[in-house]
Symmetry: C2
């Protein structure tokens, strides 16, 4: 039987476990050694396929592979390139794939990447090239999967940071209003995670993009909490509807930074209530902290990497591997396959009926999240007290 050559790429924003999916895939490739020729890694997402920048992943040392689960960032490089009906681009893609005799593409990403996946599978089916998607996103906003690899570790980071910031804030009798901002432009899953904290660490207020938000009510709530307790800890998704003017920073594409809601609210509290404020924007460490990677998350990411490979080897195409929860207690998830076209460009928001008030989420959410944040990974350190990371010497 002819051996299959595989091409894997990573796409979209980093998560703490995207490289665990690569790790799982490589373990799977070893198991299926007899039916696999080479697994290529495409550098910088789909761009590596377009520009013929592939590297044989068999060239990675065992030491490098073993570090993947604790390596933040996107190991092979990412891209936000969007595939359009550009004939030249498609010719380049086909050329690279044929040159390396690739008949299976594995794409690891979020909903934009699943759109890429969908287009690839439709364009390449005539050539007998199969395409399977592997989900990842800290935003937890993919449909047709119980949850997304990357979310639970980010949630665990949020829970722990909110607890330690809250304890820190309570060090003084006369406290401040502390406003903690968490990633999430449209979906509030991550900010909602802070609801898992018990009293007295539980935030006084939690605002998600999916919930109600009015400045007037926000100020009243803060005032009430502060009068009662001498402090007030607020957690907000970056995407809550406040007008941004303070931060106004731009990224490489000239897009305004989505960050800054906390700063606006902080200024409001300063000005309208005259209370002291501290703002903490959790920022990129949310998606890149090996010390708070969830074991369940890391293992599921690896499992999905492996299962995507197996699905592709078995002839599946145009599908994404996904998680289907069998039970929460004891926790058990099965792997299923869903049509990637039904995942692409859709957003799963935090269920409105799980928001009970401006300070609490439903028990259903707790049951949903609790099993996902269990356990950690052993992080190997270097001699300067820093975590070790796998590193790619790019061509």
């Amino acid at each position: 039987m002819k051996k299959t050559n595989v091409c894997y790429f990573q796409s979209g924003g980093p998560t703490a476990v995207i490289n665990s999916s690569l790790y799982g895939l490589l373990l799977g490739a070893k198991e299926k050694e007899s039916s696999i020729g080479e697994v290529y890694g495409s550098l910088d997402g789909i761009e590596g396929i377009i520009e013929d920048r592939l590297i044989p992943l068999s060239s990675l040392s065992e030491a490098t592979v073993s570090l993947l689960p604790q390596t933040p960032g996107v190991f092979l490089g990412s891209s936000r390139f969007k595939l359009h009906e550009d004939q030249q681009i498609w010719e380049k893609i086909t050329k690279t794939l044929q040159k390396h005799d690739i008949s299976l593409i594995l794409a690891n990403g979020g909903n934009d990447s699943m759109d890429t996946c969908d287009k690839l599978s439709r364009h390449l089916s005539d050539l007998g090239i199969r395409v399977v998607g592997i989900p990842k996103t800290i935003d937890n906003d993919l449909v047709l999967t119980d949850h997304c690899p990357g979310f639970a570790s980010a949630a665990k980071h949020v829970i722990n940071q909110v607890k330690l910031i809250s304890i820190d804030a309570h060090s003084y009798k006369k406290g401040k209003v502390v406003i903690i901002e968490v990633m999430g432009r449209e979906a509030g899953w991550l900010a909602a995670s802070a609801d898992l904290l018990p009293k007295p660490y539980h935030p006084d207020l939690i605002y998600l993009p999916e919930g109600e938000f009015s400045e007037r009510e926000f100020l009243t709530e803060v005032q009430n909490q502060y009068e009662r307790k001498g402090t007030c800890v607020v957690v907000v998704s970056e995407g809550i509807p406040v007008h941004h003017e303070t931060l106004a920073l731009y990224d490489s594409f000239g897009h305004a930074s989505p960050e800054g809601a906390a700063l606006e609210l902080g200024k409001l509290v300063n000005k309208k209530l005259g209370l002291g404020v501290r703002t903490v924007i959790l920022s990129t460490p949310v998606r890149a902290n090996p010390f708070l990677t969830s074991k369940v998350d890391s293992e599921e990411a690896a499992l999905l990497g492996k299962e995507a490979l197996f699905a592709g080897l078995n002839g599946d195409t145009g599908v994404m591997v996904a998680l289907e929860r069998v039970s929460s207690s004891p926790y058990r998830c099965n792997v299923k396959k869903v049509k990637v076209g039904e995942v692409a460009n859709k957003n799963r928001l935090f269920p409105k009926d799980w928001i009970l008030s401006s300070s609490s989420m439903s028990n259903e959410f707790h049951e949903y999240l609790l099993p996902l944040v269990q356990g950690g990974i052993d992080v190997r350190m270097d001699e300067s007290g820093c975590f070790l990371a796998a590193r790619l010497e790019k061509k």
Copy 2:
């Protein structure tokens, strides 16, 4: 022999290991059981003594005590109250101390607190009450000690965050200018710590309050680095001389937040160079992260808590226990006692001759810091994936 009653208080900003000093002190008290009556904890720093809010620390459960080394914040509550020549205050202090028959005060804090310590020891010597200081500060700015408990864990947090933010930032081919802001108003020890990172994780630029900073040169450096590498990672102390206008938040005392230098620089880069920017202000987790507490730091904090108790029991007063380095490799520090009046209100800045350029510190600094960030502590977790913390049920 009459048993000694001791009163301990914590003061100033939190560090990751201030509660380790309390832990060490309590271990020491157990060792000297026969000569100690009660160890009282004063709530909210010196305010607890003024207002007679002391709690017997023998009432803490073993479980609570065992969690102190992984508990962020200031366990007994802190205060920034400054002692002046106010007769009424001194009468209250004396009254509380006499009521509880206290003859030894242990004060755990930074240079403001050592001033309090100095005043207490001079005012109370006639009453036969001894006062011993225990250093703590993430700023590492106390004189007459090799380094300060709390600094090394904060440095370890900085090193790890800069590495993971840097890896995250390199996930895209077309990168951003990433500006990471680290605590340090006057002393740049913490920002300098990022220099311990090897390439390719080493920041491209590091600016301390003690070094040179001009906007023009900063922009030239950023431009050069970005052209060469497609990204640029900058680490700055919050105290570098840039005009703050963006953040402009106020604390409970109406003081402007010292944070925000990164935002100003980010806007400058956006505006003058037209490059994409991400800013990350590391904020309070720097001083409160149990997952990156250094073992050496934790153990030294505990040792100094214990040694301060022993010094006081032996009749010392008006002193602070301090660290004296015997050698860096192998690392060994002795405990010495220094006059607290010579520590109070002084600032030890980062040595100017350890700043070699806008991107590197001297080898002497590496030799100084490296042994301090070694090892970690085992962090016990709860069932929601969060670190456990000791908690005081305040009266």
